[in-house]
Protein backbone atom coordinates (compact mmCIF):
# COMPACT_ATOMS: atom_id res chain seq x y z
CA UNK A 1 0.00 0.00 0.00
CA UNK A 2 2.84 2.37 0.83
CA UNK A 3 5.11 3.83 -1.80
CA UNK A 4 8.67 2.62 -2.13
CA UNK A 5 11.45 3.35 -1.21
CA UNK A 6 10.40 2.30 2.26
CA UNK A 7 11.38 3.83 5.60
CA UNK A 8 14.62 1.84 5.92
CA UNK A 9 15.76 2.82 2.44
CA UNK A 10 14.90 6.51 2.97
CA UNK A 11 16.72 6.64 6.29
CA UNK A 12 19.81 4.98 4.81
CA UNK A 13 19.78 7.34 1.85
CA UNK A 14 19.30 10.40 4.04
CA UNK A 15 22.17 9.27 6.29
CA UNK A 16 24.50 8.84 3.32
CA UNK A 17 23.58 12.29 2.09
CA UNK A 18 24.19 13.79 5.54
CA UNK A 19 27.59 12.17 6.02
CA UNK A 20 28.92 12.36 2.47
CA UNK A 21 27.50 15.60 1.09
CA UNK A 22 26.39 17.81 3.95
CA UNK A 23 28.99 17.11 6.64
CA UNK A 24 32.03 18.12 4.54
CA UNK A 25 30.31 21.42 3.68
CA UNK A 26 29.45 22.26 7.29
CA UNK A 27 31.63 24.48 9.48
CA UNK A 28 33.64 22.53 12.07
CA UNK A 29 31.52 23.58 15.04
CA UNK A 30 28.49 21.80 13.51
CA UNK A 31 30.25 18.49 12.77
CA UNK A 32 29.40 17.01 16.15
CA UNK A 33 25.70 17.84 15.74
CA UNK A 34 25.71 16.36 12.21
CA UNK A 35 27.37 13.17 13.45
CA UNK A 36 24.80 12.91 16.20
CA UNK A 37 22.04 13.28 13.58
CA UNK A 38 23.64 10.49 11.53
CA UNK A 39 23.80 8.33 14.66
CA UNK A 40 20.13 8.99 15.42
CA UNK A 41 19.19 7.93 11.88
CA UNK A 42 21.24 4.74 12.26
CA UNK A 43 19.49 3.84 15.52
CA UNK A 44 16.08 4.51 13.98
CA UNK A 45 17.00 2.31 10.99
CA UNK A 46 18.00 -0.59 13.22
CA UNK A 47 14.78 -0.25 15.20
CA UNK A 48 12.67 -1.06 12.13
CA UNK A 49 13.38 -4.83 12.00
CA UNK A 50 13.67 -5.26 15.79
CA UNK A 51 10.86 -7.45 17.09
CA UNK A 52 10.29 -7.36 20.85
CA UNK A 53 7.17 -9.60 20.63
CA UNK A 54 8.86 -12.95 21.47
CA UNK A 55 10.56 -11.40 24.50
CA UNK A 56 7.33 -9.72 25.58
CA UNK A 57 5.71 -13.18 25.52
CA UNK A 58 8.47 -14.57 27.75
CA UNK A 59 8.12 -11.57 30.04
CA UNK A 60 4.40 -12.29 30.36
CA UNK A 61 5.31 -15.76 31.65
CA UNK A 62 7.27 -14.23 34.53
CA UNK A 63 5.35 -11.09 35.49
CA UNK A 64 2.36 -8.99 34.51
CA UNK A 65 4.47 -6.44 32.60
CA UNK A 66 7.87 -4.69 32.69
CA UNK A 67 6.89 -2.68 35.77
CA UNK A 68 5.76 -5.86 37.53
CA UNK A 69 8.99 -7.60 36.53
CA UNK A 70 11.07 -4.71 37.90
CA UNK A 71 9.11 -4.68 41.15
CA UNK A 72 9.43 -8.45 41.61
CA UNK A 73 13.19 -8.30 41.02
CA UNK A 74 13.47 -5.57 43.66
CA UNK A 75 11.40 -7.66 46.06
CA UNK A 76 13.86 -10.55 45.64
CA UNK A 77 11.49 -12.91 43.86
CA UNK A 78 14.21 -13.94 41.35
CA UNK A 79 17.14 -14.06 43.77
CA UNK A 80 19.81 -16.71 43.19
CA UNK A 81 18.38 -19.97 44.46
CA UNK A 82 14.79 -18.98 43.66
CA UNK A 83 13.05 -21.40 41.24
CA UNK A 84 12.83 -18.92 38.36
CA UNK A 85 16.20 -17.19 38.86
CA UNK A 86 17.82 -18.64 35.73
CA UNK A 87 14.76 -17.92 33.62
CA UNK A 88 14.70 -14.29 34.74
CA UNK A 89 18.46 -13.90 34.17
CA UNK A 90 18.19 -15.33 30.65
CA UNK A 91 15.28 -13.04 29.80
CA UNK A 92 17.14 -9.96 31.07
CA UNK A 93 20.16 -10.92 28.99
CA UNK A 94 18.08 -11.42 25.84
CA UNK A 95 16.20 -8.17 26.41
CA UNK A 96 19.47 -6.27 26.86
CA UNK A 97 20.86 -7.89 23.72
CA UNK A 98 17.82 -6.95 21.65
CA UNK A 99 17.99 -3.38 23.00
CA UNK A 100 21.72 -3.26 22.16
CA UNK A 101 21.09 -4.54 18.63
CA UNK A 102 19.22 -1.26 18.07
CA UNK A 103 21.06 1.22 20.31
CA UNK A 104 24.65 -0.05 20.40
CA UNK A 105 25.31 -3.05 18.14
CA UNK A 106 29.07 -2.77 18.66
CA UNK A 107 28.53 -3.83 22.27
CA UNK A 108 27.37 -7.24 21.00
CA UNK A 109 30.66 -8.08 19.29
Amino acid sequence: MLEAPDAADLLATARDSLLQKLLPALPAHLHYEARMAANAIAIASRAIPADPAPLAARLAELAEDAAGFAARIRAGEFAPGAPRHAEAAALLRDMARLRCSVSAPRALR
Binding site: A37, N39, A67, F69, A70, A79, A96
Partner: protein
Protein backbone atom coordinates in the same frame (compact mmCIF):
# COMPACT_ATOMS: atom_id res chain seq x y z
CA UNK B 1 29.52 37.82 25.41
CA UNK B 2 27.99 41.22 24.55
CA UNK B 3 29.46 44.63 25.39
CA UNK B 4 27.16 45.37 28.34
CA UNK B 5 28.00 42.05 30.00
CA UNK B 6 31.68 42.49 29.36
CA UNK B 7 31.64 45.95 30.96
CA UNK B 8 29.71 44.67 33.99
CA UNK B 9 32.11 41.76 34.29
CA UNK B 10 35.18 44.03 34.03
CA UNK B 11 33.80 46.21 36.80
CA UNK B 12 32.94 43.28 39.07
CA UNK B 13 36.28 41.50 38.54
CA UNK B 14 38.24 44.73 39.13
CA UNK B 15 36.48 45.23 42.43
CA UNK B 16 37.03 41.59 43.45
CA UNK B 17 40.70 41.69 42.48
CA UNK B 18 41.29 45.12 44.02
CA UNK B 19 43.06 46.20 40.85
CA UNK B 20 41.82 46.95 37.32
CA UNK B 21 40.90 43.81 35.36
CA UNK B 22 40.26 44.10 31.64
CA UNK B 23 38.90 41.19 29.57
CA UNK B 24 40.43 40.81 26.13
CA UNK B 25 39.56 37.76 24.05
CA UNK B 26 36.70 35.52 25.26
CA UNK B 27 35.68 32.26 23.62
CA UNK B 28 33.27 29.51 24.58
CA UNK B 29 35.13 26.28 25.35
CA UNK B 30 33.42 22.94 24.68
CA UNK B 31 31.35 22.80 27.84
CA UNK B 32 29.29 20.09 29.50
CA UNK B 33 25.55 19.57 29.29
CA UNK B 34 25.11 21.54 32.48
CA UNK B 35 27.46 24.48 32.43
CA UNK B 36 29.32 26.87 30.16
CA UNK B 37 33.04 27.43 30.26
CA UNK B 38 34.56 30.55 28.73
CA UNK B 39 38.26 30.95 28.07
CA UNK B 40 39.07 34.57 28.83
CA UNK B 41 42.32 36.44 28.40
CA UNK B 42 42.60 39.27 30.89
CA UNK B 43 45.00 41.85 32.15
CA UNK B 44 45.09 42.18 35.94
CA UNK B 45 46.86 45.34 37.03
CA UNK B 46 48.35 45.46 33.55
CA UNK B 47 49.74 41.90 33.56
CA UNK B 48 48.34 39.31 31.14
CA UNK B 49 46.65 36.22 32.63
CA UNK B 50 44.63 33.34 31.17
CA UNK B 51 41.43 32.44 33.03
CA UNK B 52 38.36 30.27 32.68
CA UNK B 53 34.93 31.59 33.61
CA UNK B 54 32.42 28.91 34.55
CA UNK B 55 28.69 29.49 34.68
CA UNK B 56 25.41 27.61 34.34
CA UNK B 57 23.47 26.72 31.24
CA UNK B 58 19.80 27.63 31.24
CA UNK B 59 18.69 24.09 32.11
CA UNK B 60 20.56 22.75 35.11
CA UNK B 61 20.40 19.21 36.45
CA UNK B 62 18.77 19.37 39.83
CA UNK B 63 21.21 16.77 41.18
CA UNK B 64 24.26 18.91 40.48
CA UNK B 65 25.64 21.54 42.82
CA UNK B 66 25.39 25.27 42.07
CA UNK B 67 28.47 27.13 40.85
CA UNK B 68 29.09 28.72 44.27
CA UNK B 69 29.29 25.29 45.91
CA UNK B 70 31.60 24.06 43.17
CA UNK B 71 33.86 27.04 43.90
CA UNK B 72 34.01 26.12 47.60
CA UNK B 73 34.95 22.54 46.62
CA UNK B 74 37.64 23.81 44.30
CA UNK B 75 39.10 25.90 47.13
CA UNK B 76 39.03 22.92 49.49
CA UNK B 77 40.71 20.75 46.88
CA UNK B 78 43.32 23.41 46.08
CA UNK B 79 44.17 23.62 49.80
CA UNK B 80 44.45 19.81 49.98
CA UNK B 81 47.06 19.88 47.18
CA UNK B 82 44.75 18.33 44.61
CA UNK B 83 45.86 19.45 41.16
CA UNK B 84 43.03 21.81 40.26
CA UNK B 85 42.93 25.17 38.49
CA UNK B 86 43.54 27.87 41.08
CA UNK B 87 40.14 29.29 42.07
CA UNK B 88 40.22 33.09 41.85
CA UNK B 89 36.85 34.80 42.39
CA UNK B 90 33.25 33.72 42.79
CA UNK B 91 30.19 35.86 42.06
CA UNK B 92 26.81 34.86 43.51
CA UNK B 93 25.07 37.86 41.96
CA UNK B 94 23.12 36.61 38.93
CA UNK B 95 22.65 40.14 37.58
CA UNK B 96 26.27 40.56 36.40
CA UNK B 97 26.21 38.04 33.52
CA UNK B 98 22.80 36.39 33.97
CA UNK B 99 23.83 33.58 36.33
CA UNK B 100 26.28 33.06 39.19
CA UNK B 101 29.81 32.32 38.01
CA UNK B 102 33.36 31.85 39.14
CA UNK B 103 36.74 32.34 37.54
CA UNK B 104 39.79 30.15 37.84
CA UNK B 105 43.21 30.09 36.28
CA UNK B 106 43.41 28.27 32.94
CA UNK B 107 45.68 25.21 32.91
CA UNK B 108 47.37 23.62 29.92
CA UNK B 109 46.46 20.19 28.61
CA UNK B 110 43.64 18.27 26.98
CA UNK B 111 40.67 16.57 28.60
CA UNK B 112 39.22 15.02 25.43
CA UNK B 113 38.62 11.43 26.48
CA UNK B 114 38.89 9.67 23.11
CA UNK B 115 42.11 11.50 22.29
CA UNK B 116 43.68 10.55 25.63
CA UNK B 117 42.48 6.96 25.27
CA UNK B 118 44.04 6.77 21.82
CA UNK B 119 47.37 8.11 23.07
CA UNK B 120 47.36 5.66 25.99
CA UNK B 121 46.46 2.72 23.73
CA UNK B 122 49.38 3.56 21.44
CA UNK B 123 51.66 3.15 24.48
CA UNK B 124 49.98 -0.09 25.51
CA UNK B 125 48.75 1.79 28.58
CA UNK B 126 50.11 4.83 30.39
CA UNK B 127 50.94 3.53 33.88
CA UNK B 128 52.60 6.81 34.87
CA UNK B 129 49.51 8.87 34.07
CA UNK B 130 47.23 6.44 35.88
CA UNK B 131 49.47 6.41 38.97
CA UNK B 132 49.25 10.18 38.96
CA UNK B 133 45.44 9.95 38.74
CA UNK B 134 45.44 7.60 41.74
CA UNK B 135 47.51 10.09 43.74
CA UNK B 136 45.09 12.89 42.91
CA UNK B 137 42.17 10.78 44.01
CA UNK B 138 43.83 9.98 47.35
CA UNK B 139 44.40 13.69 47.93
CA UNK B 140 40.73 14.40 47.31
CA UNK B 141 39.85 11.68 49.81
CA UNK B 142 42.07 13.32 52.44
CA UNK B 143 39.23 15.87 52.79
CA UNK B 144 36.92 14.51 55.48
CA UNK B 145 33.84 15.77 57.33
CA UNK B 146 32.90 17.79 59.23
CA UNK B 147 33.80 20.91 57.25
CA UNK B 148 32.05 24.24 57.78
CA UNK B 149 33.13 25.43 54.33
CA UNK B 150 31.43 22.38 52.76
CA UNK B 151 28.29 22.44 54.93
CA UNK B 152 26.13 22.46 51.75
CA UNK B 153 27.08 18.80 51.27
CA UNK B 154 24.90 17.89 54.24
CA UNK B 155 25.55 15.08 56.69
CA UNK B 156 27.58 12.11 55.44
CA UNK B 157 25.66 8.85 54.96
CA UNK B 158 26.08 6.26 57.71
CA UNK B 159 26.58 3.58 55.04
CA UNK B 160 27.42 4.88 51.57
CA UNK B 161 26.62 1.56 49.85
CA UNK B 162 23.17 1.25 51.42
CA UNK B 163 22.50 4.92 50.70
CA UNK B 164 23.51 4.44 47.06
CA UNK B 165 20.96 1.66 46.54
CA UNK B 166 18.25 3.69 48.29
CA UNK B 167 18.95 6.84 46.27
CA UNK B 168 19.03 5.01 42.93
CA UNK B 169 15.71 3.28 43.65
CA UNK B 170 14.21 6.61 44.58
CA UNK B 171 15.34 8.10 41.28
CA UNK B 172 14.05 5.13 39.30
CA UNK B 173 10.69 5.41 41.03
CA UNK B 174 10.54 9.15 40.38
CA UNK B 175 11.36 8.60 36.68
CA UNK B 176 8.58 6.04 36.39
CA UNK B 177 10.14 3.94 33.60
CA UNK B 178 10.56 0.32 34.70
CA UNK B 179 14.21 -0.75 34.39
CA UNK B 180 14.40 -4.47 35.23
CA UNK B 181 18.16 -4.74 34.55
CA UNK B 182 18.96 -1.81 36.84
CA UNK B 183 16.79 -3.42 39.53
CA UNK B 184 18.75 -6.64 38.97
CA UNK B 185 21.98 -4.75 39.55
CA UNK B 186 20.71 -2.91 42.63
CA UNK B 187 19.43 -6.13 44.12
CA UNK B 188 22.89 -7.68 43.59
CA UNK B 189 24.47 -4.74 45.45
CA UNK B 190 22.05 -5.35 48.28
CA UNK B 191 23.01 -9.05 48.33
CA UNK B 192 26.76 -8.29 48.38
CA UNK B 193 27.08 -5.31 50.73
CA UNK B 194 30.43 -3.73 51.56
CA UNK B 195 30.92 -2.77 55.21
CA UNK B 196 30.81 1.01 55.69
CA UNK B 197 34.02 3.05 55.94
CA UNK B 198 34.59 6.47 57.46
CA UNK B 199 33.23 9.00 54.94
CA UNK B 200 35.52 11.09 52.74
CA UNK B 201 34.96 13.67 50.03
CA UNK B 202 34.15 11.84 46.79
CA UNK B 203 34.48 13.73 43.52
CA UNK B 204 31.80 11.49 41.96
CA UNK B 205 32.73 12.20 38.36
CA UNK B 206 36.45 11.39 38.46
CA UNK B 207 36.92 9.84 35.03
CA UNK B 208 38.75 10.20 31.76
CA UNK B 209 37.19 13.29 30.19
CA UNK B 210 37.21 15.21 33.47
CA UNK B 211 40.98 15.06 33.88
CA UNK B 212 43.09 17.65 32.13
CA UNK B 213 46.25 15.92 30.99
CA UNK B 214 49.57 17.02 29.57
CA UNK B 215 52.13 14.37 28.72
CA UNK B 216 51.93 11.76 31.49
CA UNK B 217 50.67 14.17 34.13
CA UNK B 218 47.26 15.30 35.35
CA UNK B 219 47.23 19.09 35.08
CA UNK B 220 43.73 19.51 36.56
CA UNK B 221 40.86 17.53 38.06
CA UNK B 222 37.75 19.18 36.63
CA UNK B 223 33.97 19.21 37.16
CA UNK B 224 33.28 19.10 40.89
CA UNK B 225 29.54 19.51 40.70
CA UNK B 226 28.63 15.98 41.83
CA UNK B 227 30.95 15.86 44.85
CA UNK B 228 29.53 14.39 48.07
CA UNK B 229 30.59 12.59 51.25
CA UNK B 230 30.90 8.85 50.63
CA UNK B 231 33.03 5.73 50.26
CA UNK B 232 36.38 6.48 48.59
CA UNK B 233 35.98 3.32 46.51
CA UNK B 234 33.02 4.93 44.75
CA UNK B 235 35.55 7.17 42.92
CA UNK B 236 37.93 4.28 42.22
CA UNK B 237 35.02 2.21 40.87
CA UNK B 238 33.69 5.06 38.73
CA UNK B 239 37.13 5.59 37.16
CA UNK B 240 37.52 1.85 36.42
CA UNK B 241 33.95 1.04 35.27
CA UNK B 242 33.77 -0.46 31.75
CA UNK B 243 31.64 2.45 30.51
CA UNK B 244 34.48 4.93 31.08
CA UNK B 245 37.22 3.08 29.18
CA UNK B 246 36.56 4.77 25.85
CA UNK B 247 37.11 1.69 23.71
CA UNK B 248 40.20 0.46 25.63
CA UNK B 249 38.46 -2.28 27.60
CA UNK B 250 41.73 -3.94 28.59
CA UNK B 251 43.06 -0.72 30.12
CA UNK B 252 40.87 -1.03 33.17
CA UNK B 253 41.78 2.28 34.78
CA UNK B 254 39.81 4.78 32.71
CA UNK B 255 40.90 3.28 29.39
CA UNK B 256 44.29 4.82 30.13
CA UNK B 257 46.31 2.25 32.04
CA UNK B 258 46.40 -0.80 34.29
CA UNK B 259 44.25 -0.92 37.39
CA UNK B 260 47.27 -1.97 39.47
CA UNK B 261 49.01 1.33 38.65
CA UNK B 262 45.95 3.32 39.74
CA UNK B 263 45.83 1.46 43.06
CA UNK B 264 49.57 1.85 43.51
CA UNK B 265 49.31 5.61 42.97
CA UNK B 266 46.36 5.74 45.34
CA UNK B 267 48.19 3.99 48.15
CA UNK B 268 47.45 1.35 50.77
CA UNK B 269 44.00 2.70 51.70
CA UNK B 270 42.56 1.23 48.49
CA UNK B 271 40.85 -2.13 49.07
CA UNK B 272 40.50 -3.93 45.72
CA UNK B 273 37.90 -6.28 47.16
CA UNK B 274 35.45 -3.36 47.33
CA UNK B 275 35.84 -2.45 43.65
CA UNK B 276 33.40 -4.97 42.09
CA UNK B 277 30.62 -3.48 44.23
CA UNK B 278 31.47 0.11 43.27
CA UNK B 279 32.13 -0.65 39.61
CA UNK B 280 28.68 -2.20 39.34
CA UNK B 281 27.33 0.82 41.21
CA UNK B 282 29.06 3.03 38.61
CA UNK B 283 27.33 1.32 35.67
CA UNK B 284 23.98 1.61 37.41
CA UNK B 285 24.53 5.26 38.30
CA UNK B 286 25.51 6.23 34.76
CA UNK B 287 22.45 4.39 33.43
CA UNK B 288 20.19 6.25 35.87
CA UNK B 289 21.76 9.58 34.86
CA UNK B 290 21.42 8.71 31.16
CA UNK B 291 17.76 7.78 31.72
CA UNK B 292 17.13 11.11 33.41
CA UNK B 293 18.79 12.96 30.54
CA UNK B 294 16.69 11.06 28.00
CA UNK B 295 13.61 11.91 30.05
CA UNK B 296 14.40 15.61 29.78
CA UNK B 297 14.14 15.22 26.02
CA UNK B 298 11.07 12.97 26.12
CA UNK B 299 9.18 15.27 28.49
CA UNK B 300 9.71 18.23 26.18
CA UNK B 301 11.52 20.05 28.98
CA UNK B 302 14.64 20.35 26.87
CA UNK B 303 14.49 18.65 23.49
CA UNK B 304 17.70 17.92 21.64
CA UNK B 305 19.79 15.27 19.93
CA UNK B 306 22.43 14.95 22.63
CA UNK B 307 19.92 14.19 25.38
CA UNK B 308 17.92 11.90 23.07
CA UNK B 309 21.02 9.88 22.17
CA UNK B 310 22.20 9.67 25.77
CA UNK B 311 19.20 7.44 26.51
CA UNK B 312 20.51 5.00 23.88
CA UNK B 313 23.65 4.43 25.95
CA UNK B 314 21.53 2.54 28.49
CA UNK B 315 21.27 -0.83 26.69
CA UNK B 316 25.06 -1.17 26.54
CA UNK B 317 25.25 -0.31 30.24
CA UNK B 318 22.67 -3.02 30.87
CA UNK B 319 24.95 -5.62 29.26
CA UNK B 320 27.77 -4.37 31.51
CA UNK B 321 25.52 -4.60 34.56
CA UNK B 322 24.43 -8.18 33.82
CA UNK B 323 28.07 -9.25 33.40
CA UNK B 324 29.11 -7.42 36.57
CA UNK B 325 26.33 -9.11 38.58
CA UNK B 326 27.57 -12.50 37.34
CA UNK B 327 31.12 -11.59 38.39
CA UNK B 328 29.99 -10.42 41.79
CA UNK B 329 28.04 -13.65 42.34
CA UNK B 330 30.95 -15.79 41.10
CA UNK B 331 33.39 -14.09 43.49
CA UNK B 332 31.31 -14.78 46.52
CA UNK B 333 30.20 -18.28 45.43
Amino acid sequence: MDEARRAALNAWLSQAAGTPVEIGAASLLSGGAIQQNWAISVTRGGAAEEWVLRTDNAATLTVSLPRTAEYALLRAAFSADVTVPEPLFCCEDASIIGAPFFVMRRVPGTATAFRLAKLAAALGGDAELVRHAGKEMARIHSIVPPRDDLAFLGAPPADAGVEFVRAMRERLDAAGTPRPVLEWGLFALERHPVPPLAPVLCHNDFRTGNLMVEGHAVTAVLDWEFAAWGDPHADLGWFCAPCWRFGNLALEAGGLGPRAALLEGYGPAADPSRLPFWELAASIRWAVIAADQGARHLSGQERGLELALTAHIIPELELDILRQVEDLDARSA
